[in-house]
C-alpha cells in the first residue's frame, strides 16, 4: 500500500487560504476615512543624546514624539479581520548629520515629523555632530 492512502486524512481542499478570496478585506470604494492630524510638538531633537537634556527629559521628549496611536483608524470586517490605517507617525524615518570629522552619522526616528524636528535641532553645539566614536574618558 502506498503511503498515499495513509495520508488521506490530511488531504484537504486546495488552497485553504484561498477560501478567503471570496471576501477580501478590501476598502469599500468611497468609504470615508477618519484622519487625525499628526501631533505637533515643541522643537527638540530626538534620538540623540544631548548635553543639555537629562535622561528623564529625553525620555519625555521621545514619548511625546512617539507613534500617534490615537490617530489609528481601525476597521473591522465581517470575517473577523481588522484593518488599521497608520499615519505618518508610524513611518520609519532616517536622518543624516555630517559630524565634525566629516563622517556621516545616521539616525532613525519614528515619523517624518520627528525627523524634521531632529534636523532642525541639529547644530554644531549638539551631540548629533560629535563623532560617533568618541569615548568617555572618565
Amino acid at each position: 500500500m502506498r503511503t498515499l492512502v495513509s495520508a488521506v486524512s490530511a488531504f484537504v481542499a486546495l488552497g485553504i487560504a484561498a477560501a478567503a478570496h471570496a471576501q477580501p478585506p478590501q476598502i469599500p470604494p468611497g468609504q470615508a476615512k477618519k484622519q487625525t492630524a499628526p501631533k505637533q510638538t515643541a522643537d527638540h531633537g530626538t534620538g540623540d543624546a544631548s548635553d543639555e537634556l537629562t535622561p528623564a527629559d529625553q525620555e519625555l521628549l521621545q514619548r511625546l514624539f512617539g507613534k500617534n496611536e490615537s490617530g489609528v483608524v481601525l476597521t473591522p470586517f465581517a470575517n473577523g479581520g481588522v484593518r488599521l490605517e497608520l499615519d505618518e507617525s508610524f513611518q520609519e524615518a532616517i536622518t543624516v548629520t555630517i559630524a565634525d570629522d566629516g563622517s556621516l552619522k545616521f539616525s532613525h526616528l519614528t515619523g517624518l515629523a520627528n525627523a524634521t524636528e531632529a534636523v532642525k535641532a541639529a547644530s554644531p553645539n549638539t551631540a548629533t555632530t560629535k563623532p560617533a566614536t568618541a569615548l568617555e574618558e572618565k
Partner: protein, 568 residues
C-alpha cells in the same frame, strides 16, 4: 463521505488558486510625483553605476525599482506589492538632513490565512498570507508601503555636496547609497518593525504583531507577547539582552556574524554565573580568545582628594596583596579610566572591570590613552556591577576575554540581538539589529559604509514573520513542500490533456503540498517506458479511489489520459 466532500470542495476552490508556479513577488513603484519634479525631474544625468537613466528623475525611479527588485526576487507572494513613492523637498540644513521615510500604510489582523491570531501583519505581508491584495489599487490608500525621499539632498544648504548615489554598484564614495537606504526602508515596510509603542510597551490597539512575536528577553526569560506593558518598556532598554527567537534567523547567525564577542563570563557563584556584556577600552591590552581568568576582587583605595570613594581607584590601591594576580573591580567616577586602571595595574591586577556609575546599557567603551597600561580593562553596566559587587565577599571567579563561541551580534544561545539601548532611542530601539553585529547588517540603525546590497539576517527575519518561501504559491512553505513546483490547475492535466477531473491537494503527510496532478506526473519520473508509467498511474489511481478521493469515472478519465499521453 467526509473524504468525498473534501474532494468536492477541492473542485470549487481550485479555481481561486494561481495557475502558474510563479516564484517571487511583483513590487510596483507607484510614482506619486507630479510632472517636472521628483521621479519626473528632467535634469539630464549621465548613466552611473549600472543605472541607465538619462535624467535625474529616471535614475531615481530606476534606483527604487532596483531596490524593490532585490526584495521582490526573494519574497514569494501572489499579491502585488505597491510602494507609493515620492521625491520631495524634506527638511535639511547644510549639515543635517532628513533622507526619507518609509513604512507600512496599513496593518491587518485575524484575516483568513493569518499565521497567528490577534497579530498584526503589514499590508504587504497580509497580501502574501491572504493570497490576494487586501487593498484596492489606486493612489496612496491603495498602496502597501509609503516612501518619501529628499529631492534636495546635495543642493546648497541641504547637506551641501553630499548626494544620493543612484548607481546600482554600491560605488557611492562619500555620497549616500540610495539603493542601500531603500533596501533598509523597504524592509521596515515589509514587516521589519514592531507596531507597539516601544517607549511605553503598549500594544497597538491591543494587538501583538508578527515582529514582536519573535522577541524575547534573556533577563526575564519572557517573550514580548507574554509581558506586561511595563515589562516590555523595560525590556526595550535592556541592552544586549533582547533577542529574536525566529528559527530562520538563528539558523542564519553562523553564516552572517563572525565569531567573537567581548564578554565577562562569571563562572561562580552559580547565582551570578553567565555572560555579561562589556565595553572595551581604547587603551591597554585588547581582549583575546585566551582570556584572563581569575578571582574578581574589589580594588580599595583611600577616600581622598583624588576620589571620595574607597572603590573609585583614583589613588594607589591599598589592598595590593588581595588584588595581585586577580581581576580588580572598581567604580567609575571622579578620575579618568586610565588613572584607575593604572593604579590597579600597579597593584598587580591582571585585568580591571569598572562598574558604571550611571544607568544605561549596553556598557560603553572606556576612552583614554596610556601606553604604559598593559592589562585589559572593560566597563560593565551599573546594574551588572551592583550584582557582581554584592557577591565579591563570597568569591567570584570569571574569565574576561573575546569569547569565540559567541557570535558578534548574538547571545550565548546563538540568537541575534536586537537594538535595545538604555537610554531608549525612539525610532531606532527594537526595530533594528544590535550595533555590535559584525559584519555590519542592513537593519542596524545606522547605514554603514560597508553594506553590500546583501540581505544578511534581514531576509531570515522576514521569513520568520511569515514571508516563507513558496515558489508555487500554494501556501505550503517550500521548506516542507514535497512538491515545491505544484501543478495547481483546477483540473488534472496529464501530458497536456485536460481530464476534466478536479485536482486535489495534500496539506500534511508525505505528500504535503502535492496535488493529484503532481503525483500522476511523478509516475512518469523514472518510469522505464510508457507501459511502466501507465501501470504506475493505475496503482496510484486505485489508491486514490480506495481512499474515496476519486470516483470510478474520474479514475477512468485520468487512466485513459495517461494511456494516451506520450509519457515518459
Amino acid at each position: 463521505m467526509i473524504k468525498r466532500s473534501l474532494l468536492a470542495l477541492v473542485a470549487a476552490l481550485a479555481l481561486a488558486l494561481p495557475s502558474t508556479a510563479a516564484a517571487s513577488s511583483h513590487i510596483v513603484i507607484v510614482n506619486g510625483n507630479v510632472p517636472g519634479v521628483g521621479f519626473n525631474d528632467p535634469t539630464p544625468a549621465a548613466p552611473v553605476g549600472g543605472n541607465p537613466g538619462t535624467t535625474l528623475g529616471q535614475q531615481r525611479l530606476l534606483a527604487f525599482r532596483h531596490a524593490a527588485d532585490i526584495w521582490g526576487a526573494t519574497l514569494d507572494s501572489a499579491a502585488e506589492i505597491r510602494i507609493f513613492a515620492t521625491f520631495e523637498p524634506l527638511t535639511c540644513t547644510a549639515t543635517a538632513a532628513t533622507l526619507g521615510s518609509a513604512g507600512a500604510t496599513f496593518v491587518f489582523a485575524d484575516f483568513p490565512g493569518a499565521l497567528l491570531p490577534h497579530t498584526l501583519y503589514s499590508a504587504a505581508l497580509t497580501g502574501k498570507l491572504y493570497g490576494a491584495d487586501p487593498l484596492v489599487p489606486g493612489g496612496l490608500s491603495g498602496s502597501h508601503i509609503r516612501a518619501r525621499f529628499n529631492s534636495n539632498l546635495g543642493n546648497t544648504d541641504c547637506l551641501t555636496g553630499t548626494r544620493f548615489y543612484l548607481g546600482f554598484d554600491n560605488n557611492h564614495g562619500a555620497n549616500i547609497d540610495l539603493v542601500t537606504v531603500l533596501q533598509h526602508e523597504f524592509a521596515h515596510g515589509l514587516g521589519f518593525q514592531t507596531f507597539a509603542n516601544t517607549s511605553t510597551g503598549a500594544l497597538l490597539a491591543g494587538y501583538s504583531d508578527a515582529y514582536l512575536h519573535l522577541i524575547a528577553d534573556n533577563t526575564t526569560g519572557k517573550s514580548w507577547e507574554t509581558m506586561t506593558n511595563a515589562e516590555r518598556a523595560a525590556s526595550a532598554r535592556n541592552g544586549r539582552r533582547v533577542v529574536v527567537t525566529g528559527p530562520h534567523v538563528t539558523a542564519a547567525v553562523p553564516s552572517n556574524l563572525q565569531s567573537g564577542t567581548p564578554l565577562l563570563r562569571i563562572l561562580s557563584p552559580a547565582g551570578l554565573a553567565g555572560a555579561y556584556p562589556v565595553g572595551t577600552a581604547a587603551f591597554g591590552a585588547p581582549l583575546d580568545a585566551t582570556g584572563v581568568f581569575g578571582q574578581v576582587v574589589p580594588g580599595l583605595d583611600p577616600a581622598d582628594a583624588a576620589g571620595p570613594s574607597t572603590t573609585d581607584g583614583c589613588s594607589p590601591l591599598t589592598n595590593a596583596g588581595a588584588v595581585a594576580g586577580k581581576i580588580a573591580m572598581l567604580d567609575r567616577g571622579t578620575c579618568g579610566f586610565i588613572v584607575k586602571v593604572k593604579n590597579a595595574q600597579n597593584a598587580g591586577a591582571v585585568a580591571v572591570v569598572i562598574a558604571d556609575n550611571a544607568a544605561g546599557s549596553p556598557p560603553a567603551g572606556l576612552g583614554g590613552a596610556d601606553p604604559t597600561i598593559t592589562i585589559p580593562a572593560v566597563r560593565v553596566t551599573q546594574s551588572d556591577g551592583i550584582a557582581i559587587k554584592s557577591q565579591l565577599a563570597g568569591g567570584v571567579s570569571a574569565v574576561l576575554g573575546l569569547d569565540l563561541a559567541v557570535r558578534a551580534g548574538a547571545d550565548d544561545a546563538g540568537r541575534a540581538l536586537i537594538y535595545t539601548p538604555d537610554p531608549f532611542v525612539a525610532g531606532s530601539s527594537v526595530s533594528h539589529w544590535d550595533t555590535i553585529a559584525t559584519p555590519n547588517l542592513l537593519m542596524e540603525p545606522f547605514i554603514n559604509d560597508d553594506l553590500t546590497h546583501g540581505l544578511d539576517l534581514t531576509l531570515p527575519l522576514l521569513r520568520d514573520i511569515g514571508w516563507y518561501p513558496d515558489g508555487d504559491l500554494d501556501f505550503v512553505s517550500d521548506e516542507v513542500d514535497a512538491c515545491p513546483g505544484s501543478d495547481l490547475r483546477a483540473t488534472i492535466f496529464v501530458g497536456g490533456a485536460d481530464t476534466g477531473v478536479p485536482n486535489g491537494f495534500f496539506v500534511d503527510g508525505p505528500h504535503n503540498g502535492c496535488t493529484i496532478a503532481d503525483l500522476v506526473a511523478g509516475e512518469a519520473v523514472g518510469a522505464k517506458n510508457h507501459g511502466a508509467f501507465v501501470s504506475g498511474v493505475a496503482e496510484l489511481l486505485n489508491d486514490l479511489k480506495k481512499a474515496g478521493l476519486l470516483t470510478g469515472s474520474q479514475k477512468g478519465a485520468v487512466q485513459s489520459a495517461a494511456a494516451g499521453a506520450s509519457l515518459p
